[in-house]
């Protein structure tokens, strides 16, 4: 089971196992990681090591929180694209959040991200989690627009 999941990571990212064997453990990725600026105390290198050791990590805080800022990639001596590895794990372990699901369903329906639809889909989540306090700020510049139907011009 884990074997196939690990293979999927390589398939999704286009990396080979050997590509992670070069990681020197210098932790420069951890020192520049945006999440550590706010005290998340994470080490992106854990992810590479686990993948190299054929272990599936789906409970690491980075899997949920990585913002894909590519700071690690920028500083890594090998330029390893850790955010893309994390995104692959996120997809394989089905740790997709409500917002991601809404985006995908919008792309399937309209071919594009139709914002009013996405907001409508996650509205209960937004209300429950206190996002309503941003609504006045957002309505300053957001407005309603009609969707484009798939295939139409």
């Amino acid at each position: 089971m884990h074997q196939t999941e690990e293979e999927k990571i390589f398939e999704y990212t286009g990396y080979r196992r050997d590509d992670f064997s070069v990681c020197l453990g210098c932790r420069i990725c951890a020192s520049v990681c945006s999440l550590n600026d706010v005290g998340a105390n994470v080490n992106p290198q854990d992810i590479l090591l686990s993948v190299f050791l054929r272990k599936m990590v789906d409970d690491h805080p980075l899997i949920r929180l990585c913002t894909s800022c590519y700071k690690c990639t920028d500083s890594c001596p090998w330029g390893i694209r850790i955010p893309e590895v994390i995104r692959a794990i996120r997809e394989i372990s089905k740790k997709e959040e409500k917002f991601g699901k809404a985006l995908r369903s919008s792309i399937e329906l309209f071919g594009r991200v139709y914002e009013p639809y996405v907001v409508f889909r996650i509205m209960p989540y937004l209300l429950k989690n206190g996002y309503w306090k941003f609504f006045p700020r957002w309505t300053e510049y957001m407005s309603f627009h009609l969707p484009r139907l798939k295939g139409s011009k």
Binding site: G14, R64, R87, E115, Y141
Partner: protein
């Protein structure tokens, strides 16, 4: 010169102002933008499968072919995805800032200057990282602002992450990350990305958040106020 124009999903909705701004700036420079017919989403960063993202972006490039092989995408994420899917280099993909040089912008006769205005050009992540898809000149906006007599702040936080990508997963993370950016800068925030705009607008309080095109259009007298 005719360019194929890929606006991207946000620019049709919440970032309409950026869309209008880009069209107007290029119009002033005498460059024609022809929107790619029936374009689709670029694939965002939501799919774990990089191949699937590239497939979506490749579809867009195919649709651009009858218009032009020179493609302009103003959203940093769309530009990154399109650049990465252009594996055989058949196309030339540009973010507007790849194409414009400070000289281009400064060549249009200005009607106003920026004296007395303080700006914080906030580049964010995907415009300057990863290296392969980054814009060439990371100081282009500073050059334009300084030329017109404006003041620039916050250069050490200009490429920090605002956490926009995880805004709807963890509300506190983008708030903390944006606070760092906001506390170490002052004045009007100049953004390039629709997502940065949304996040910084949510937390910026009284401070103005504008797109880079707004600043250019203001100087050129096309916009009455910032």
């Amino acid at each position: 010169m005719i360019y194929a124009y890929y606006p991207g999903c946000s620019l049709k909705g919440s970032a309409k102002r950026l869309d209008d701004g880009v069209r107007r700036v290029f119009n002033l420079l005498g460059i024609t933008l022809n929107e790619i017919p029936d374009w689709n989403c670029c694939g965002l960063v939501e799919y774990g499968d990089a191949y699937r993202v590239r497939l979506l972006s490749k579809k867009n490039l195919e649709k651009a072919l009858p218009v032009s092989t020179e493609v302009i995408a103003p959203c940093p994420l769309c530009a990154k995805n399109l650049k990465e899917s252009n594996e055989d280099s058949r196309f030339s993909i540009f973010h507007p800032l790849d194409l414009l040089t400070p000289q281009d912008i400064l060549s249009i006769p200005a009607k106003r200057d920026l004296k007395g205005h303080v700006f914080f050009p906030y580049y964010g992540c995907l415009l300057v990282r990863p290296k392969e898809t980054a814009i060439k000149d990371r100081e282009i906006m500073e050059k334009v602002i300084l030329y017109y007599g404006g003041e620039v702040t916050g250069t050490e936080v200009k490429d920090r992450c605002c956490g926009g990508n995880r805004f709807f997963v963890d509300r506190e993370l983008p708030e903390k990350l944006s606070r760092i950016i906001l506390e170490r800068s002052c004045g009007t925030i100049v953004v390039f990305c629709p997502l940065c705009h949304m996040v910084l607008k949510s937390f910026s309080g009284e401070r103005k958040v504008v797109y880079f095109t707004d600043v250019i259009l203001y100087v050129l007298g096309e916009k009455k106020k910032l």
